[in-house]
């Protein structure tokens, strides 16, 4: 079980990397603060007119789902390990 979870976590991270790299320029996050900052920065030069946002796009959802899956996998691995150690102790 422990090995399966580790393998699952590794697979999710690998999928994240493989899926993300070709799309890194197209996807992005968006917070409302960014929208406010965009209003406020009028007339100010910023470092970079960054990325074309596709908020809530399919790729973005998938990527974040992969990250969340990796988090769940890592947590389950730790949880099971702790439970086993607790039982042994």
């Amino acid at each position: 079980m422990k090995r399966t979870l580790l393998a699952l976590t590794a697979a999710l991270l690998a999928a994240l990397v493989l899926f993300a790299i070709p799309r890194a320029e197209r996807i992005g996050s968006d917070d409302r603060a960014m929208a406010v900052a965009t209003e406020m920065r009028a007339g100010k030069k910023i470092g970079r007119q960054s990325f074309g946002l596709t908020p809530n796009g399919l790729e973005e959802r998938l990527l974040f789902a992969l990250q969340a899956g990796a988090g769940v996998g890592l947590f389950c691995y730790a949880y099971l390990g702790l439970r086993r150690r607790g039982s042994a102790g």
């Binding site: 996050s29 409302r32 406020m40 970079r48 960054s50 974040f64 990250q67 969340a68 947590f75 607790g86």
Partner: protein, 215 residues
């Protein structure tokens, strides 16, 4: 939230990076301590929670998003000095692969999420415990308070970079906080409950009365 790539002037990026470097270095050293390395499973649990919660971007109005911070469990288990390194690794992953945050804004994001948040959480947790509040409830309260604190710090950072033309930095802080409050206060409450549940899960898993006692 993470401040996106390109949204801070380069001088601000340099300033926040310089502010966070000592903590990041100290945190990496903390991770190498034998007593921390001996608790790798708890560290993995803290990392997993951080990965999971920062990925839970919840939609809000205008097609935007907000998310929990996930820093409190690690802070309660290991103390705030360990957290910057964990947060830094997640921020780098998100900046490089998910365009969530950015490399130039890494210092600013690390300051709010990896330093301000954990120290606030630790303080809140300690105060709650001093008043005899149960550990799981204290953890939940710390998670809620630190979640708001992270967004407060981010609002300050944004306001320093983009002061309101009429009301200045103070006005901009108010405006950013008002923007965040809509989504972040409910999220902070949910995060508090989730973190308390996760803490209880770990407590049950290790069959110890108090995880904090092991620290």
């Amino acid at each position: 939230m993470h401040i996106a790539e390109g949204f801070l002037p380069i001088t601000h990026c340099a300033f926040w990076t310089a502010c966070t470097l000592p903590s990041a270095w100290d945190s990496i050293r903390q991770l190498r301590r034998p007593e921390v390395r001996a608790r790798r499973l708890e560290l993995a649990a803290a990392g997993g929670t951080l990965l999971l919660l920062t990925a839970l971007k919840l939609p809000s109005v205008a097609g935007s998003s907000s998310h929990p911070t996930g820093i409190t469990l690690g802070t309660v288990l290991f103390g705030p000095r360990v957290m910057p390194a964990l947060v830094l690794s997640v921020l780098i992953l998100q900046a490089l692969l998910l365009a969530h945050g950015g490399i130039t804004t890494l210092g600013a994001n690390l300051f709010s999420l990896g330093i301000c948040g954990p120290f606030t959480a630790y303080l809140a947790f300690r105060i709650c415990r001093r008043f005899g509040v149960p550990a799981a409830v204290s953890t939940g309260a710390a998670a809620s308070i630190s979640s708001v604190a992270v967004y407060g710090a981010a609002a300050l950072q944004m306001a320093l970079a983009y002061p309101d033309p009429r009301t200045g930095i103070a006005g901009a802080i108010g405006r950013f906080l008002a923007v965040f409050a809509w989504t972040q206060i409910p999220i902070a409450l949910v995060e508090g409950a989730m973190t308390a549940v996760v803490y209880r899960l770990l407590e049950g898993a290790t069959f110890t009365a108090k995880l904090e006692a092991a620290r």
